[in-house]
Amino acid sequence: MRWRHKDLLDLDNLSAQEIELVLQSALSMKEVLFRPIKKLPTLRGKSIALMFYENSTRTRTSFETAGKILGADVTNFSVAQSSVNKGESLLDTAKTLQAMNIDLVIIRHACSGASEFLAKQLKAGVINGGDGQHAHPTQALLDFFTMKDRWGEFKGKKVLIVGDILHSRVARSNALGLKKLGAEVVLIGPPTLLPPEMGYLGVRTSFDLDSELPGADAVMALRLQMERQQSGLFPSLREYNRLYGLTRERIARTGKDTIVLHPGPLNRGVEISSDLADSVQSVIEEQVTNGVAVRMALIYLLIGGTSNVMA
């Protein structure tokens, strides 16, 4: 199994084997994270540009750390400082990056498809660090890594993804990938945040968290954007928390040694209770560590060789 992609935009066109390759490579990368000297010469002389059009300290720092450990030069195109605010189009930004001979671009953008748009314009590799409501492949891969670390394999495992499914790129990418890996996925949320068209994912959906808890091997809470309440998508945090908030009592009903995931940042007391988030069942901090390892693996796979695409 070899890596044959120029970009990582979505999990749509990755096979289960390719996902496993990423996870396997990430395992080696994780070892590096625990060394006294966390620095590799692997990507010496390669350049990575981070373009975060949406705020995200966590994801950006994770990519930045990953790139630096691998020895690449990482440049932060801070949106505030670059010409983005002056109205430069993504197309012109792409041309600028091309002219700088950047090897890899990592982009997060509020528009679905922005990373694919960039990838079509650039010879450089592109990693999608989250595009609109569309995809967040690196988050999903780090979630898979975290699960695999606990389980060894995905077959026969039941994963609940709970919350604002409609607006969540994390839920989409997770559901797509977990299905490929052979896990059972159930999407759970109120009808306003889990409309029927989400059925396209081909996984089960439910409005009732409590009835789905028994037998769940992992439960993933999604971050709830507070402004959804003003848009009328849910009536109050109180009711949301009662129906969909993860607590220790709820998780105890799975009858299993269930792990609890969250892509962060947490709204403690809303989608997840504080004591659960800090409990032994929570793998939220591991997710952060694993995020760096998985992103190192992806960066290596994309630009480790001269060219990342086979002719």
């Binding site: 679905s112 922005a114 569309h134």
Partner: protein
Amino acid sequence: MLWLKNVHLVDPGQGISDKASLLIKDGKVAKLCRGEKQLTEEEVLMTLGVSELKDVKQVDGEGKFLFPGLVDAHVHFREPGQEDKEDINSGSRAAVRGGFTSVLAMANTQPVIDTRALVEFVRLQGERAGLARVYPVAAVTKGFQGRELTEMVDLQKGGAVAFSDDGLGIQSAETMRLALEYAKLTGCPLISHCEDTSLAGQGVMRKGEASARLGLKGIPASAESVMVARDALLAGETGGKIHIAHVSTKESVWVIRAAKKLGIDISAEVNPHHLLLTDEDVQLTNSSYKVNPPLPSREDQEVLLEGLLDGTLDMLATDHAPHTWEEKMRPFAEAPFGINGLETALAALWQELVLKDKIKPEKLIELWSLNPAKRFALQGGTLKAGSPADMVLFDPEWQERVTAESLESKAQNTPFLEKELQGFPIMVWVGGKLVMKNRKIVEKQ
């Protein structure tokens, strides 16, 4: 003086779909001879009032169709204000190249067409271009604000043939009701862009599995259909005259069908792209598929076609909406809505609907020439003797690849770009004047 021979004339206004010869004099149809019978030279000379045949231009249309010039009830020519997208001249060139001899130019320019001076400007620019007949549509409300009505009577005197805030839906039902009442002074229909903005929200494509898959915000079908229902009821209550622009949902078709049964004065149009493309075709990195109303579901598409065939829906219209390459070369959500339609619409429908036997050529012409001409009280729409010689000689075998260079429009935002289409106009006359020949505009001498 023109003698058109051996054409297959499709003229639903006269109930003709037959071999025919036509004589054109002074910009009008002087004589029409149908069937296998040929005009004799003497008849030709006598009718045209000339002594020698060399004074008569002859065109042999063997194997070709002759249509009355197509009338497009919905184009955006962007002038004044956004001439980088299109202007009335380039839009007119695109129109005649696509087989359209009359167009209704929408009022959402900058400034919007809400005064008589602006209406006359549009009309005058159309005359200056000297190609298609450009009929201005004037705004319903001043500045498209959705509140105060425009001076509809004066606007009509300036040349407006209909009123519309197209580009924006009129959100206030009361404004719409009053507009329908007041427009009675003109006898012109109100063209309604049916869109409830609270339902449409920030959506960029039809809400459904395709939008969920692409992670694009969805516009529910109800954003259109609830407004169609509202406007139909208001037209019924006021006795006003309403025309529904760009119908794209099955629910809208059901409402219009019911309204017509109730005797409400309602008409409606369908855009070719809504008949040919669905939300499943939308590509994240090709904003040529971004259009408002958005591309419908497959099911909607079937009901739309059915509505056209059974007379619920009255006409086809392109909603020609040119945008610059730079504007469209953006991420899907940031690109403007609109499809460039005039030069590809007829060919695309011919290839996908006529050649696949889903619609007859006679019906196609009824929908795209006769019915719009009637609804908006325009000349044309038929080629009976005495009518203006707005004509399209159409070659059903002509194949052409749609390229950016080939388009007369300033814009290239069409999903048919780089695609091969079959069935194109090869000669177009407006008022007897040849304006397009062999796919090229006949330039002014």
